[in-house]
């Protein structure tokens, strides 16, 4: 079973003379776990997700480890972009608030993109996920024919098609109405199953709580530093 473990990780961003820092004292995401990160706009949620998604390296970390396939990879020491790209392709799936799809690829080709990048091409799994997420269209349907909600479900299929160990979502329901958002979350978690650890950045506390996510909060500790903590340690109760 795969897991990501973090201890005392820091990400520093500078913009001219201004400096902004995000700290993650301790964090763990394992198989089948559901964690939601909540916080104010501009608090550093997406910056934290950058690092957790292996899209950018941390500035410093005592421990930043990926355990999968019986091996343990020290991500703080792991080198270059190529290593990160390989790990992203193999172990991660991503769903964004408005997940773009290549408009010149068909529905099925877009859904199979992550499979091709990871080298785990399995058309039957794509077909099954499309069915399970309720995208019941001919395989050659252009993505431009899909509604926004259907496109988000297609993004879920694409993110899970290569059976990743982790599903990372940045406000996946942000562009949807509450009912559609609820349906998407249900479909997404069902498709992720017990194998994938799911990390969601969201503003919708009620939605993630309803779907059984453990809540973590990104809080400003000072004007230029934010810290990611479990809700139980944050001192603030998130209103449902």
């Amino acid at each position: 079973m795969a897991e990501i473990e973090i201890r005392d990780l820091a990400i520093a961003l500078t913009d001219g003379s201004r400096r902004f820092e995000v700290k993650i004292p301790a964090f763990r995401l394992g198989a089948g776990e559901r964690i939601a990160i909540l916080g104010e706009t501009g608090s550093g949620k997406t910056t934290a997700l950058d690092v957790l998604a292996l899209a950018s390296p941390p500035t410093a970390a005592d421990r930043f480890v990926l355990r999968a396939d019986g091996t343990s990879i020290d991500l703080a020491a792991a080198g270059g972009r190529r290593d990160f790209a390989r790990l992203r392709a193999r172990h991660f799936g991503y769903v964004l608030q408005t997940s773009p799809h290549f408009p010149f690829l068909t529905l099925t080709e877009n859904a199979a993109l992550a499979q091709r990048l990871s080298g785990r091409v399995e058309p039957r799994r794509v077909a099954r996920l499309l069915r399970e997420t309720g995208i019941d269209f001919p395989a050659r349907t252009p993505v431009t024919a899909l509604s926004i909600g259907q496109r988000q479900r297609l993004a879920v299929v694409r993110a899970l098609a290569h059976a990743p160990d982790f599903l990372l979502c940045d406000e996946p329901t942000g562009a949807l109405d509450p009912a559609t958002a609820d349906r998407l979350m249900t479909v997404m978690l069902a498709a992720a199953g017990e194998r994938a650890g799911v990390l969601v950045v969201s503003h919708d506390a009620a939605l993630v709580r309803r779907h059984g996510f453990a809540i973590w909060r990104m809080e400003r500790e000072s004007g230029s530093t934010s810290v990611l903590r479990p809700e139980s340690e944050s001192g603030r109760e998130v209103q449902p």
Partner: protein, 396 residues
């Protein structure tokens, strides 16, 4: 490979937009091809024809006046002179040519010729026992190379006939030696000159005035420039002899000026249009790719490498570039065929007036694609460097 297959899908699934991009590139390439084709088909052929015709290099004095050794030496020393052969003073160096068996008789004009004479081409110069004839003269007497001939000359003031048996060593095409002209060794020409002026030729058993009294003199010279570019300057230089100079300088100057103008046109026009083709591709990539920045950032977030993104952009650019080149070449053949039907131009040309060899077309296509590929690589670098983190942000 995923970048290549994505690029191919982009090309296949956006036929209208990609065809427009190909047409834009073809519209820039076609005038370059037509200009180059006109230069190669019309101008180069005309200049090539002049370069292959030694008569275009021939210069002479209009007036026959005594030409001394000092003047001949001065002419030989002029820059751009390739060959000088003095002509005897006797105004009409003519004779009668017949077959060795005595049949046939043709009035011919004799031109003294020696090694280096451009009219000889690759043939050996005539010796005292050989001559070189033009196609027309040889044809009229049904002569072929190696045949024996008799050259005879008589003058009203002498009862004797100068007659010599020779061998036809070579037959030159009419383009080099038109009419009834023969190239003969200078010594033979001088003998006929002496005979005509009444001097004895003891070697040939002909009596006459004492040869010791004869003062060799020349009236003109066969002068050839080294190349077409030297014709006009040489004509100018020969003007100092104040005899009037004849030469085909007008046609040569026109052909050379046309060649220079065509070359300049192809370079300037071609450069501007090549830049247009590049800009066209760049704007196509800009319009097509920049809206995909977030797609490509997500593509990288999903694990694609920068090389995959570059391959994607390069495949699209080369696909559009290849399409543009193919359309341009097809249109070029159509335009070339149309131009060949234009009667006034076709009459002036001895072959297609707009023509590029397959090798030239292939080379041009390859160069175009290399330039477009370099341009596409520069564009691809921008996208390949996209941070995967950009996918998580809507602002790119």
């Amino acid at each position: 490979m995923i970048g290549v297959s994505l690029g191919l899908a982009y090309l296949r699934r956006r036929p209208r937009a990609n065809l427009l991009a190909m047409l834009a590139i073809a519209a820039c390439l076609l005038p370059i091809l037509v200009a180059a084709g006109l230069k190669a088909g019309y101008v180069d052929r005309m200049v090539g024809g002049l370069r292959a015709d030694p008569r275009a290099l021939a210069i002479g004095f209009r007036a026959d006046e005594t030409l001394g050794e000092a003047e001949l030496a001065a002419i030989r020393a002029l820059p751009g002179v390739a060959y000088v052969e003095p002509l005897p003073a006797w105004l009409s160096l003519s004779a009668v040519l017949g077959r060795a068996d005595g049949s046939g008789a043709l009035d011919v004009t004799l031109l003294p010729s020696s090694a280096g004479d451009p009219l000889l081409g690759d043939r050996a110069p005539p010796e005292e026992t050989t001559i070189v004839a033009g196609e027309a003269a040889a044809g009229r007497l049904r002569l072929k190379e190696g045949d024996g001939v008799v050259l005879s000359r008589s003058v009203d003031s002498r009862p004797e006939v100068f007659e010599v048996t020779l061998t036809l060593a070579a037959i030159r095409p009419a383009t080099h030696l038109p009419g009834n002209r023969l190239l003969v060794a200078p010594a033979l020409a001088r003998e006929i000159e002496s005979f005509g002026r009444g001097f004895a030729l003891p070697g040939r058993g002909l009596a006459g005035r004492d040869p010791a009294e004869e003062r060799p003199a020349y009236a003109n010279a066969r002068i050839f420039a080294a190349d077409l570019e030297s014709v006009a300057p040489l004509i100018d230089a020969l003007a100092v002899f104040d005899r009037g100079v004849s030469g085909d300088s007008g046609a040569v100057a026109f052909a050379l000026a046309l060649d220079r103008a065509a070359r300049l046109l192809v370079l300037v026009f071609g450069g501007a249009l090549a830049a247009g083709a590049m800009l066209s591709l760049w704007s196509t990539l800009d319009l097509g790719m920049l809206p995909q920045r977030r797609h490509l950032a997500l593509f990288k977030l999903m694990g694609a490498r920068g090389a995959d993104v570059s391959a994607y952009v390069l495949t699209i650019a080369l696909g559009i570039g290849c399409g543009g080149v193919v359309i341009a070449v097809g249109a070029f053949h159509a335009v070339a065929a149309g131009l060949d039907r234009l009667q006034p131009l076709a009459d002036a040309a001895d072959g297609p007036i707009c023509d590029l060899s397959p090798a030239s077309l292939l080379l041009g296509a390859a160069l175009t694609l290399v330039v477009l590929a370099v341009l596409a690589l520069a564009f691809a670098r921008r996208l390949a460097g996209l941070s995967p983190a950009g996918a998580l942000r809507d602002e790119i």
